[in-house]
């Protein structure tokens, strides 16, 4: 696992230039400011407005590599000082200054910014000297560096000159990355080389992103040489992609969690037996095969094991712990028995919202629908647009049963993603504990994994707390761990990646550096 190695049969890379490279995206980003939590947007924006440091996966752990910042110093648990690379210029020729960086970080923390949720605790960013930026947090945070490092750096002068339309085609941000925006229409985004780029130029001279809403069309596009690369949203179709003449598919394991969440604060899911009945009604193995064609792994707990890296003593020990947790496989008899013991022995009805277009979510809900039908449980699948799904999800007003798809973080620590799913602190709007799950065990152990407080605990204590929480979750079942999906990319004949790009490479813009021609 991890972001190295290439698929067998990929043609050897050459060092020749790629005059232009077109990549399919499923939808046009709402905005190109780069201040976003959306992977699909960051894939593009990070090529122009690059981050201070790049996160990459190494041996299952997230590691930070210098980018615009040559180094970062943790002065104290609440303060971080970045030393900026000297001589960096924006694509319009103006030099990058510490003020630009400070402005960018503050912009990402603004209340109206998409990233505001990640920046909870942010207390300020200042240019503390030429080429130096100091970032302060209100409490000791374990993941502040990962959070700040992936933020985009924009040219502040340009951005402040366009307060209303920054990020639209009228005011495409200016950055210091390998590319600069050339144009945006409703259909395409074109990037041209940044003449002032400080680093090694990627092989692709011009990059174009073009909207192709569905995978079948994207396959046709690749078939007819209209695109050279594409992400593969429906992992089941990787073999079809491979069937397109000369196309290579690159997959990489990622720190992604797919979960089923049940609202423990409301009936019928406030009844543990109901939750167990649901757990015994999902054919996880089957869906794994049917929906992902093997390009995913079954999740043993809320997060992939790598995300425990920050607290676990060793991978082996962590794995042993995970293996000891109870797992729920499809078992109609047990499901029936559990429901019979519940307050709803004759079943109930529930609507399950899932993100429209997420094929595996659809299949999962249909599977659940079919398996629970004999128990008298009526499940109504409800596909909704992604925006709407997130809105209801974060409002904690959803129907109770929800499919959480593709949650991920760049922090390989329980304080990155895991903590958010539990605890009273996360039961408020805009926070992700959609199961509204808490109890004494959780509250007692929560501080050890919460970013704001974790800094005061030792690694061993944090591991113990993590184990306690995960054990409780496994028994109380506010969430049913489902899968951890791989990411998959297809490259047309004549192109190759020097290694399988990971999700982190996508977020940091490093993916374009992996691209090579084979001719």
């Amino acid at each position: 696992t991890g972001g190295s190695g290439t698929p067998a049969g990929a043609a050897p890379a050459t060092e020749s230039d790629i005059p232009s490279f077109t990549y399919a995206i499923p939808a046009m980003p709402t905005s190109l400011t780069g201040i976003t939590t959306k992977v699909q947007t960051q894939l593009i924006t990070s090529l122009v407005t690059e981050p201070l440091e790049r996160v990459s996966l190494n041996e299952g752990t997230a590691q930070l590599q210098p980018n615009l910042a040559t180094s970062a110093r943790q002065v104290d648990p609440q303060t971080l000082v970045y030393t900026l690379r000297s001589g960096v210029k924006f694509s319009d020729g103006t030099p990058l200054t510490a003020d630009d960086v400070a402005w960018s970080i503050k912009a990402a923390a603004a209340k109206t910014a998409e990233t505001a949720g990640n920046m909870a605790g942010f207390a300020g960013a200042t240019a503390s000297g030429p080429g130096e930026v100091t970032v302060k947090w209100a409490f000791p945070s374990v993941n502040m560096r990962e959070t700040v490092s992936e933020l985009p750096v924009l040219e502040a002068a340009f951005a402040t000159a366009h307060p209303d339309d920054l990020g639209t085609s009228a005011a495409l941000p200016v950055g210091s990355g390998p590319y600069a925006y050339q144009s945006q229409t409703s259909q395409d985004i074109s990037l041209k080389p940044n003449p002032n780029y400080w680093g090694t130029r990627p092989k692709a001279q011009n990059v174009k992103f073009t909207v192709i809403a569905d995978g079948a069309s994207a396959q046709l596009a690749m078939r007819s040489d209209s695109i050279q690369g594409s992400g593969i949203a429906d992992l089941k179709t990787t073999t079809q992609w491979q069937g397109i003449n000369g196309t290579t598919v690159y997959t990489a394991q990622n720190l992604v969690s797919d979960l089923l969440s049940m609202d423990t604060s409301k009936p019928p899911f406030n009844d543990l037996h109901v939750r167990q009945a649901v757990a015994y009604s999902i054919d996880r193995k089957g869906i794994l095969a049917a929906a992902f064609g093997g390009n995913a792994e079954q999740l043993q707990t809320l997060v992939p094991i790598e995300e425990l890296a920050g607290v676990m003593p060793s991978q082996a020990e962590a794995q042993q712990f995970l293996d000891s947790l109870p797992q729920y496989e499809l078992d109609p008899a047990k499901a029936k028995a559990q429901l019979a013991q519940s307050a709803y022995p004759n079943g109930f009805s529930v609507t399950v919202p899932y993100i429209n277009g997420s094929n595996w979510s659809r299949l999962l809900v249909l599977n659940l629908q079919q398996n629970m039908k004999p128990l008298g449980v009526t499940i109504t699948p409800q596909p909704v647009p992604a925006g709407q799904w997130f809105q209801t999800f974060f409002s904690h007003q959803a129907t109770g049963l929800q499919v959480l798809s593709g949650f991920s973080t760049t922090t390989t620590d329980p304080a990155g993603l895991l903590f958010g799913f539990v605890g009273a602190a996360n039961m408020k709007p805009n926070l992700p504990n959609s199961a509204n799950f808490t109890n004494d065990v959780i509250e007692k152990n929560y501080p050890a994994i919460a970013p704001a407080t974790a800094g005061t605990y030792s690694k061993a204590d944090r591991w113990a707390a993590t184990k306690a929480i995960l054990t409780d979750v496994a028994h109380q079942l506010p969430y049913i761990p489902l899968f951890s999906e791989k990411t998959a990319y297809a490259l047309a004949k004549g192109y190759t990646f020097t290694q399988n790009p990971s999700l982190f490479d996508t977020l940091s813009g490093a993916w374009i550096d992996l691209l090579r021609s084979t001719t």
Partner: protein, 321 residues
Amino acid sequence: MMLLSFTARRLAAAAVLLLVLSFGVFALLAMTPGSPLQTLIGTRPATPELIETLNAKYHLDQSFLTQYWSWLGNAVRFDFGQSISVQVDRGVTGLIGDRLLLSLQLAVYAVILVLGFGVPLGMAAGIRRGRTTDRTVSLLATFGISAPAFVLSIALLYVFGVWLDWFPVFGVGEGFRDRVVHLTLPAIALAGFLSAIVIRQTRAATLTVMHQDYVAFARIRGLSPFRVLVRYALRNSALPIVTSAGMLLIAALSADLFVEQVFSLPGVASLLLQAVTDKDIPVVQGVAVLLGMVVVLVNLLVDLLTLVLDPRTRTSQNRGA
């Protein structure tokens, strides 16, 4: 004079119709459960500041009528506001503008095919009523008019694009030739459906016309078959076909939705579908009004064309003089 007053009256009626349509669309979308705010907020935390910003930007906090009034004020200047899901600088107008050309090109291509194949085939069937030509053409037309546009599109795409590899299966092509090649399959899919309607209408019209005494009288006078066909049959059957152009257009718009969808063409119909999926209400409003305008305009043109083609309507006011 009569033509002028007629046009003026029809234009006024068209304006009223558009106003009703725009109000209907606006009201319908205003009634949608969950305000557009929901979509606008998306993954962002719904902080009061954000909500305030969005309310101000999209006038969401005003009363329905105020919203409609300001929207209408902008709409008459072809400014349909900002899209919720895609931010391009000319807003919804720009979005539509980007895509209108392609849809128009596709429509023109399809119309050429329809006129080039549908009308002659329909006439041939009408003239050779009951013969093999007629039966074959009629059966094809029945199939064409019944088989959904998406079934036909998918079949064309996979048979002629993927399997036989005669046509490109994706993209719109650069330059005239390339564009024509790229739009061929979609145009055939669109024209297939429209031709079916046109064939049936031309056939019916031709049948009626060919059974008219004036055609028999023309033949008895020994006029050349060409003259009989063109001056008698074609001109007279053209009228009902032209009259139905408005209906054809509506059929075309519905079919276009599927054609653009299946061939992933960035046209106006796929924009509408995309906007609907994203609940991008300003775009839906803009496209709806635009399409309404097209329908109304085409109907107006049809009326004027009928006036030109048919002397009876042209001088109906001084009949009996």
